[in-house]
C-alpha cells in the first residue's frame, strides 16, 4: 500500500467511525451525501413514492391497501382506499440514508394484523464493516405515527433480508439472513460457508420479538427468503442454500415446532456453483390442501433460468423443475400466490428495451398451467413484481419509474 493509500484508508476509517453507519436512524452524513449528489443531477432524491425503487404491499382486514417503500434512503408507508390509485399522507418510518439496504433483493416489509397494528421491517447497515441490522417500526394508530425503528436483534453480526409473515392465529414471524454463525467461526479461525437463517416471533403486534434463534446454517448471504405457512400452520421457508460442495441451490425448510427445524429438503439439483452473490431469491406459496408451489432462478450446471416445481408431500420431494418464461429474455424475480385451488405465477422479463411482467395461472393447485401472457410493461427501471390478495381477488403489485405504482387485479384461472 502506498503512503497516499495508507492516508486515504486512515482518513476513510476516521470518517466512517463517525458516520451514519454507526447510527442507522439519522440521515446520511451531509458531507458525503452532498459530495455524491453533486455528480448525479438526474438522481431522484425525495423520499416520495415517485422516487421509490422498491415497494411492498399488503391489504388490511378492511380491504385498504398499505404500501411500504424505499426511496432516497428513507422507508415510508401510506394507505390507499382506492386500490392504489391514490395514497393518503405518507409516514416516513426511518431514514438511514446511504446505510439503507434497499438494492437488488432487499426491500421493506409490511404486515397489518387483524387489529390494524402495522409492522414495518427493513435492514440498514450499522457499522464500518458493512454489517446490517433488521429494524422494526410499529404503528398502533392506523399509520398516523410510527415508533422509532428499533433493532430486532441485539447480535453484533449482520442481519439482512427480513421477511414478516403473519400467521392466521395472529402470531407474527420474522425471518432473516444472519451472519452470527459466520462471525463466530471467524473468531475461532475456522472456515465457514455462507450465512444462517434466523427467526423470532412476536405476540404483541411487533412491539417485541422473542425466541430469537438460528434455525438453519449455511444459506446464501444475499438472496431474499420466501416464507409461508403450511396446512398445519408451521412456517416453511424456501431459500438459496449453500451446500457443502459450494452449490447455491434451493432448499425447503419446515419449522415443525418453534425453532425445531426439520432437515432441509433440496428442491432441485441445479448445481449452481458460484462463490459469489446471485442476488436472486425464490418465491413460495401453499395451497389450502397443503401443496407447496416453488419458483426460483438458477444458473446451474443442470439448468439455467427461471423454474417452478410443486410438492404434495409437505416439501419432502418436488416435481421435476419446469421452465418458466422466455429463456432469451432473462426471466426472473418470481412471485407465486395460491388461493383455493387457484395458483398464479408472475415474473419479470427484459427484451433489451422493455421490462415485462408475465403471468401463468393454474385452476388445479398447480397440476396444469395456462399459456403465458404479458400483464404489464415499462420502458424504464422497474421493481420486482409482487402478488397480494384481499381474500377475494388477487392482484399484481408493481412499481415502475415511469408509470409509478400500480395494482392490477388478476383474472381467475
Amino acid at each position: 500500500m502506498s503512503i497516499s493509500e495508507r492516508i486515504a484508508a486512515t482518513v476513510g476509517a476516521l470518517l466512517l467511525a463517525g458516520s451514519a453507519l454507526a447510527q442507522p436512524v439519522p440521515a446520511a452524513p451531509a458531507s458525503a451525501a452532498m459530495h455524491h449528489e453533486g455528480h448525479r443531477a438526474a438522481a431522484c432524491a425525495s423520499p416520495a413514492l415517485a422516487c421509490a425503487n422498491a415497494a411492498s404491499a399488503v391489504f388490511d382486514a378492511r380491504g385498504a391497501l398499505w404500501l411500504a417503500w424505499a426511496a432516497a434512503g428513507s422507508v415510508s408507508v401510506a394507505r390507499s382506499t382506492d386500490a392504489g390509485l391514490t395514497f393518503g399522507p405518507a409516514s416516513v418510518v426511518g431514514s438511514p440514508g446511504v446505510a439503507l439496504d434497499a438494492g437488488s433483493d432487499a426491500r421493506p416489509q409490511i404486515v397489518v394484523d387483524a387489529r390494524g397494528r402495522i409492522v414495518v421491517a427493513y435492514s440498514a447497515f450499522k457499522d464500518q464493516a458493512w454489517n446490517a441490522q433488521v429494524l422494526v417500526a410499529t404503528s398502533t394508530d392506523g399509520g398516523a405515527s410510527f415508533s422509532a425503528p428499533r433493532s430486532l436483534s441485539r447480535d453484533a453480526a449482520s442481519q439482512r433480508f427480513p421477511v414478516l409473515a403473519l400467521r392466521s392465529d395472529g402470531r407474527l414471524l420474522a425471518m432473516w439472513i444472519d451472519k452470527r454463525t459466520a462471525a463466530a467461526a471467524r473468531r475461532k479461525g475456522v472456515p465457514h460457508a455462507g450465512a444462517a437463517l434466523a427467526s423470532a416471533w412476536s405476540d404483541d403486534g411487533g412491539e417485541s420479538f422473542s425466541a430469537e434463534r438460528v434455525v438453519q446454517d449455511h444459506s446464501c448471504e444475499c438472496c431474499r427468503l420466501a416464507v409461508a405457512f403450511d396446512a398445519q400452520r408451521h412456517p416453511v421457508v424456501l431459500y438459496r442454500s449453500l451446500f457443502a460442495d459450494g452449490e447455491r441451490d434451493h432448499a425447503l425448510l419446515t419449522i415443525a415446532e418453534e425453532g425445531e427445524a426439520q432437515a432441509p429438503a433440496r428442491v432441485a439439483e441445479d448445481h449452481w456453483v458460484i462463490d459469489g452473490c446471485p442476488h436472486h431469491g425464490p418465491s413460495l406459496a401453499v395451497s389450502p390442501d397443503g401443496t407447496l408451489h416453488a419458483a426460483w432462478f438458477t444458473l446451474g450446471r443442470s439448468r439455467q433460468g427461471l423454474f417452478q416445481a410443486r410438492s404434495t408431500d409437505g416439501g419432502a420431494t418436488f416435481t421435476s423443475p419446469q421452465r418458466v418464461g422466455d429463456a432469451a429474455q432473462q426471466p426472473g424475480r418470481p412471485a407465486v400466490y395460491a388461493q383455493g385451488r387457484a395458483v398464479w405465477l408472475v415474473w419479470k422479463e427484459f427484451d433489451g428495451q422493455r421490462i415485462f411482467i408475465k403471468e401463468r395461472r393454474s385452476a388445479d393447485a398447480g397440476q396444469t398451467w395456462s399459456a403465458d401472457r404479458v400483464l404489464a410493461a415499462t420502458a424504464n427501471s422497474a421493481d420486482h413484481p409482487q402478488l397480494i390478495g384481499d381474500g377475494r381477488r388477487v392482484y399484481l403489485s408493481w412499481l415502475t419509474r415511469d408509470e409509478g405504482y400500480r395494482l392490477m387485479p388478476l383474472e381467475a384461472p
Partner: protein
C-alpha cells in the same frame, strides 16, 4: 446532528478528497447507462480488465484486495472497477483504499443496478456478483463469473501482450 460533529465529518471528507486527489488517486465516476460504452471507447484497441463488485457482496469484498495486489505487481494493469450497490461514497473510498486500489479507474452506480445498466455491459447478465470481463485489444470479451483466479488473469494479460 451535532454541528461540531458535522463540521468534523465535512473536514475529514475534504481532507480525504484533498489527500487522495493530491496523489495519483482516480476520482469516483458515476456509472450510468452510457458509461460502459465510454469505458470501452476510452480503452479501445488495448487490453482491458473490467471488474464488477458490490459493497453488499461479501465474496466481492474478500476478492477486492487481490486486485490491489495485482495492481502493485503490474503497475500498468489496465483495470476498471465498477461498483454496483447503493452505498456510502466514503465507505467505498475506504474499501478501495484498504484494498490498495486508490489509483484504479473507479466507477459506481448512482441508482439500482437494474436490467438497463446490466444490459449496457452484458445483455445476458442476470446480476450475479462478482464478475470480471477480460477484453482483448480486438474487443473479444471473456467473462469470469465469481471471484477471478489471478493466475488466469495474468496468463490472459500476457497472452494479449498487455504491459506490466
Amino acid at each position: 446532528m451535532n454541528p461540531i460533529c458535522t463540521l468534523l465529518r465535512a473536514g475529514a471528507f475534504v481532507l480525504l478528497v484533498a489527500l487522495t486527489g493530491a496523489a495519483d488517486a482516480a476520482p469516483e465516476r458515476i456509472f450510468e447507462r452510457d458509461s460502459y460504452a465510454q469505458i470501452r471507447a476510452s480503452h479501445a484497441g488495448r487490453a482491458l480488465v473490467v471488474h464488477l463488485w458490490g459493497m453488499t457482496c461479501g465474496p466481492c469484498l474478500v476478492e477486492l484486495p487481490q486486485w490491489g495486489a495485482l495492481l502493485r505487481k503490474r503497475s500498468e494493469l489496465p483495470l476498471v472497477l465498477i461498483q454496483v450497490d447503493p452505498s456510502a461514497p466514503a465507505a467505498r473510498t475506504q474499501r478501495l483504499a484498504a484494498a490498495g486500489l486508490t489509483r484504479a479507474e473507479n466507477w459506481s452506480a448512482a441508482s439500482e443496478f437494474d436490467e438497463f445498466l446490466r444490459a449496457s455491459i452484458d445483455p445476458a447478465w442476470p446480476g450475479d456478483m462478482p464478475r470480471t470481463l477480460l477484453i482483448s485489444p480486438s474487443g473479444e470479451v471473456k467473462t469470469i463469473r465469481g471471484p477471478a483466479r489471478l493466475a488466469e488473469v495474468e496468463r490472459w494479460l500476457d497472452g494479449v501482450g498487455a504491459a506490466h
